[in-house]
Assembly symmetry: C2
Homo-oligomer: 235 residues x 2
């Protein structure tokens, strides 16, 4: 019989820590979310479990449920937390295009710093957390100030949203080992008769994600500008 067979089997009273060896601060929603972001950054979404998260906090798993009612809550809060890194920017640039570009670029930077975020956001409903809403408010306010309204405004908002989210999602999803991307490209080559274009262009396994994002955004903004000029012919 082993006296210390497992950390979870210490039944002797004096060996059990009173709270913890180093008197950790008590649990709180903020600490949980902070730890969740840390775990997600380190190990990704599919390694996040309530037990691992609790262990990270020096606490038993069910204790989390006092502060949080479900695991989805934790993820939702984590997503919103990373959007909190983006300060609300009130600097109206001279050009609305520059303004939107700056906004979405910052947005994208945050998504890439936390590679799990884009995939998670794409999966569930767009978050309704305050930080995310603030970001969305800024985007749409800029569009309104530029002259968009009604259906055109909604279409523009969603198009821009999808561009940032989609590109970050695709980029992080394709961030795979060089070996695997090598394999994929080779497979395309061997079946070049079925996929002649894909094989000749290297459509997948691109490197220049920033470039694709920026020129894609330029396309979109060009299209928006046309819409803008058409809506207000007298300028």
């Amino acid at each position: 019989m082993n006296s210390t067979s497992d950390a979870t089997e210490v039944h002797s009273v004096w060996l059990r820590p009173r709270r913890a060896a180093k008197e950790e601060p008590p649990l709180s929603l903020e600490r949980i979310v902070e730890a969740a972001v840390a775990v997600l950054d380190e190990d990704g979404i599919e390694k996040l479990s309530m037990r691992r998260l609790a262990q990270h906090l020096g606490v038993a798993a069910p204790s989390l449920y006092w502060h949080v009612s479900t695991k989805d809550d934790v993820v939702d809060l984590a997503v919103d937390a990373i959007f909190g890194e983006l300060l609300p920017r009130n600097e109206p640039a001279a050009e609305w295009r520059d303004e939107i570009t700056a906004l979405l670029t910052a947005w994208r930077t945050t998504l890439l710093r936390h590679p799990w975020a884009a995939a998670v956001t794409a999966r569930r409903r767009p978050s309704l957390g305050p930080n995310f809403l603030t970001q969305m408010e800024t985007l749409q306010a800029t569009l309104v100030r530029t002259g968009f309204k009604g259906d055109a405004l909604r279409a523009a908002t969603w198009a821009l949203y999808n561009h940032v989210m989609g590109s970050a999602s695709a980029e992080t999803a394709l961030h795979i080992s060089d070996q695997e991307r090598q394999l994929g490209q080779e497979r395309l080559q061997t079946e070049a008769d079925r996929y002649p274009t894909l094989a000749s262009q290297r459509y997948l396994y691109d490197d220049d994600w920033d470039g694709s994002f920026n020129t894609g955004l330029r396309y979109l903004l060009d299209g928006l500008e046309i819409q803008l000029n058409a809506a207000t012919p007298a300028r």
Copy 2:
């Protein structure tokens, strides 16, 4: 002691079916994928488990692992299967814009018919299944024929890809109960001071998804056309 306490506890030899009562066809990769699509269509992604899938096929769960090496395989195959519904379309329309629009619209229709697909695809790396690649090949071939190449081609491909995928993903993710969308809109109203634009416009909880998709696509195509004219000034 109950003689038939559970279907899995029938130990009596004569009660065990020789193969099955109605002589079901043997398991096969095709049948598994077909059943997976059915389960996904009915109950969504988070209700898909290997045991449920097996039950749907009148088979024990581990039997699936003879034909498939992991659950992810099943999902990947299911995703590719639904892209197989899209026939490769060889009808080159007069206008490249119409061609791309038709292609992406069909694409989008399929994604909406299987609401789980967009979310799943956004999460994992873009599928490498043959049906998906065929679709991508058609898209990019059209772009090449139109005159795109190099960086512009890649950017255009990804922008269009993100637009379809993103809009389908957002739409299916927001397809929630009227009550819940009511609640969300009300919350925006009560915090109208923080989100004045979002509250006045009803940016979220829109209904006209088709409209947003189409005008968004028009923006994008307008932008692409500008790029096209810039690249080939002598026309």
